[in-house]
Amino acid sequence: MRRSKTMEFGVGLFMIAGILGLVFLGLRVSGLTLSAPAQSFQLEANFANIGSLKPRARVTMAGVTVGRVESIELDTQWFDARVVLSLDSELEGQLSRDTIASILTAGLLGEQYIGLSAGGDPEMLEEGDTIRDTQSALVLEELIQQFVSNMASN
């Protein structure tokens, strides 16, 4: 009977350890937070070329992460890429209409993300609006092509 009790205790400890391990993985490794997800609002932006931008990529402003890419799809009307951005709600009504969204690359070979830079228009972007001024991703082949044609014309 005594042995059976310690065995039960051991099994209980084992299962608690499993649950605690899962909690550790959730909070510390995958960075889940127990607080409610931050409020967000959505903007759209059309890019001529998104390069290798992926959904869930970062959206930054002055280097500070302010949101992420919600979805990317082909706009069949203009045949460019429509990117939906999900931004912190504290920016709602704070971004001017001429805000520029550009696709940037972290480091030389790093992942691509969207950088926003503020404009000066007195009118502000609201939920669901579209950012007009966009800069496409740098595509290495196009750069080289330009460089080569410049060389040739010289």
């Binding site: 065995m7 051991g10 299962m15 391990g21 993985l25 490794v29 995958s30």
Partner: protein
């Protein structure tokens, strides 16, 4: 000419018989799984399950945690020497965590589990069969499937995912020890890169699904091999070997299939 013909027929007959045997064995294994897994456990059943949890889970903890520590440490060491060439050593945490959570923890824990617990289950049940304990149970009206097999099956199914979680946690900690404490990767970037790139559902969740599938398959193979063996000493040794070989192959093969479905966009 005549003998050559009959030789050919014999070969085809053998092939057919082997196919039928395989199908029968699969069918037996399926019915076996169904019969032992279905049914509400009694109070006594809980106690038996607890006992098996101790044997299958708690006693496997040491080997799984020690292996996890070493695998995490070696991942960090290998990853560092490669990443530092690209100046990307701050991605070390992400690399260690993703490779552990998605692949290494479920697979290696399942392989260790097959060697440590699966073979023991087969040998135990096999010896019970060889000494006719299972038949005696049936004689006195106790169903050996529910008394002997079901607690072991459920214990294996519950404990392997827990062991996998332990493996990941210890491995990530081992990666931290080598990467941050020894090689000098900045601690903040180790954790923040990990948190930015590990998703709870698609990485940890899928790893857990993998682990649950492996748990079912490995325990199923172990108890079935024990239950279905030829009751001689040679039969027990063969069944034990088969348990380890079959479950290792099944784990590695299923891992590819599951990875293709989960991360390969199949």
């Amino acid at each position: 000419m005549q003998s050559k013909f009959s030789n050919g027929t014999a070969r085809i007959t053998r092939l057919g018989r082997r196919g039928c045997d395989l199908m029968e064995a699969l069918g037996r294994a399926g019915v076996f799984l169904f019969q032992s897994a279905v049914g509400v456990p009694s109070r006594e059943g809980w106690r038996l399950w607890l006992h098996q949890m101790h044997f299958v889970g708690v006693l496997s903890l040491a080997i799984v945690l020690v292996s996890g520590l070493f695998i995490g440490m070696v991942l960090a060491l290998q990853g560092y020497t490669i990443l530092v060439d690209f100046g990307a050593e701050q991605a070390l945490g992400q690399m260690v965590a993703l490779s552990l959570l998605r692949e290494l923890a479920p697979v290696v824990a399942a392989l260790l589990f097959a060697g440590r617990a699966g073979s023991a289950l087969t040998a135990e049940i096999g010896l019970m069969k060889a000494t006719e304990q299972l038949t005696s149970m049936e004689m006195i009206g106790v169903d050996p499937l529910r008394r002997v097999v079901a607690p072991r099956l459920w214990a294996g199914f519950v404990s392997l995912p827990i062991l996998t979680v332990g493996f990941s946690v210890v491995g990530i900690w081992g990666g931290y020890l080598v990467g941050v404490e020894w090689l000098g990767v900045f601690e903040g970037s180790y954790w923040s890169n990990m948190q930015a790139n590990v998703a709870f559902v698609s990485d940890i969740g899928n790893g857990m699904i993998k682990s649950a599938v492996f748990a079912l398959v490995v325990t199923w193979i172990a108890v079935f091999q024990g239950y279905d063996l030829v009751p001689t000493s040679e039969g027990i040794s063969r069944a034990t070997t088969r348990t380890v070989v079959y479950s290792s192959l099944a784990v590695l093969g299923l891992d590819f299939v599951l990875t293709a479905v989960m991360f390969g966009g199949l």
